[in-house]
Symmetry: C2
Subunit: 212 residues, 2 copies
């Protein structure tokens, strides 16, 4: 988000307000569903300011996606290179993803949507950031397989098994948060501590070299 470069300006951070309102809107309603007027209103800012600070609706959207993936890449890159056994790093990777999703709750739905549409709005630089995140996961997996901790599995399928439930839970939480939905069993509240535990346990059971 590069706030440092703007710190000297006197203005209350309009740009940040726009960024955050837009992140919420794009996540909740998609690129086409999110309206620039609504983003401006939610940010408490005049619509023209959005075009002043960002070039266009698309440029604003891209800035948000890049910010997400940058933060993500830094964190999981650090986790993947720790001098620890692969199983411990896998647990840390999952915990980091849950934490990241808590810090940027708009991330998982927005990314799922973008992928579902064929990721038409992602440029090469952004795809490279996605590759970094997958690369960190793959490193942990490959290390665990080399050391005999993990069994052989397709890295792409293993990645889906770890991230898929997390992203589906984010979608589920959105639907559950609407009034009148609490009664449905599949929309029951689940704490993120329980979510983390379950994902870690499931991932290690999926990967552990031991027989069942």
């Amino acid at each position: 988000m590069a706030t440092a470069a703007r710190a000297r300006h006197a203005a209350p951070d309009t740009r940040t307000a726009v960024f955050e309102a837009a992140a919420r809107a794009f996540s909740a309603r998609g690129f086409d569903g999110a309206l620039v007027d609504d983003i401006a209103a939610d940010a408490g800012v005049n619509k023209a300011m959005i075009y002043y600070h960002f070039k266009s609706k698309l440029a604003l959207y891209r800035a948000i996606v890049r910010d997400m993936l940058h933060g993500c890449g830094d964190v999981v890159g650090e986790v993947a290179t720790r001098p620890e056994p692969a199983a411990a790093r896998m647990r840390a990777f999952i915990a980091a993803f849950v934490t990241l999703a808590d810090a940027r709750p708009w991330f998982p739905p927005l990314m799922m949507r973008e992928l579902s549409e064929g990721a038409p709005r992602l440029d090469a630089a952004t795809l490279a950031l996605m590759r970094v995140v997958f690369g960190s996961f793959h490193r942990i997996l490959a290390d665990g397989q080399a050391s005999g901790e993990f069994r052989p599995v397709n890295p792409v399928l293993a990645y889906l098994s770890v991230l898929g439930p997390l992203r589906m839970n984010a979608a589920r939480e959105r639907a559950a948060s609407r009034p009148g939905r609490n009664r449905l069993p599949m929309f029951a509240m689940v704490s993120h501590a329980d979510l983390t535990d379950h994902l870690q346990e499931s991932a290690l059971r999926m990967l552990k070299a031991s027989r069942l």
Copy 2:
């Protein structure tokens, strides 16, 4: 889709063409992103026909979601009540979901999107259908836990672990299908046979009562 009631009409099935084009469009671009003009063009039909056969864009969308969930509920309901051990039914449940996703490839992305937006377009009847699907899953899980085949797990989390990877794979396939994406490791081709095997193995490892 209730094709029987229209079989006596002479016309080539315009309604079906609209339905299928709309399913593709809503899945690929979302409710707001899909344009009625594009749907008409893709179906090879005049735009006014869409409003003749369906009341509105929203009514068309809802018809598609209901169709999906109906087909799904019927299949998994049958699987859940088979006189087989829970583990076998869990395998069948997963295989059925992969098959359903192959028959209606627009289903997983569309549903993920709808949930991510808080499912604002789903009425009570449609939510009830979702409940039926989850109920079938829950029945298999509870039977397995009662018989000692499965360990205790939160049913919602278990459901996410089974369906999340499937839905994320659908999103991944969309993004992978665009030109120039083949090089990225996370967009590598994965057969649905391998996908099914992996999901079944992962689910049973997640659920099996045995120690690791």
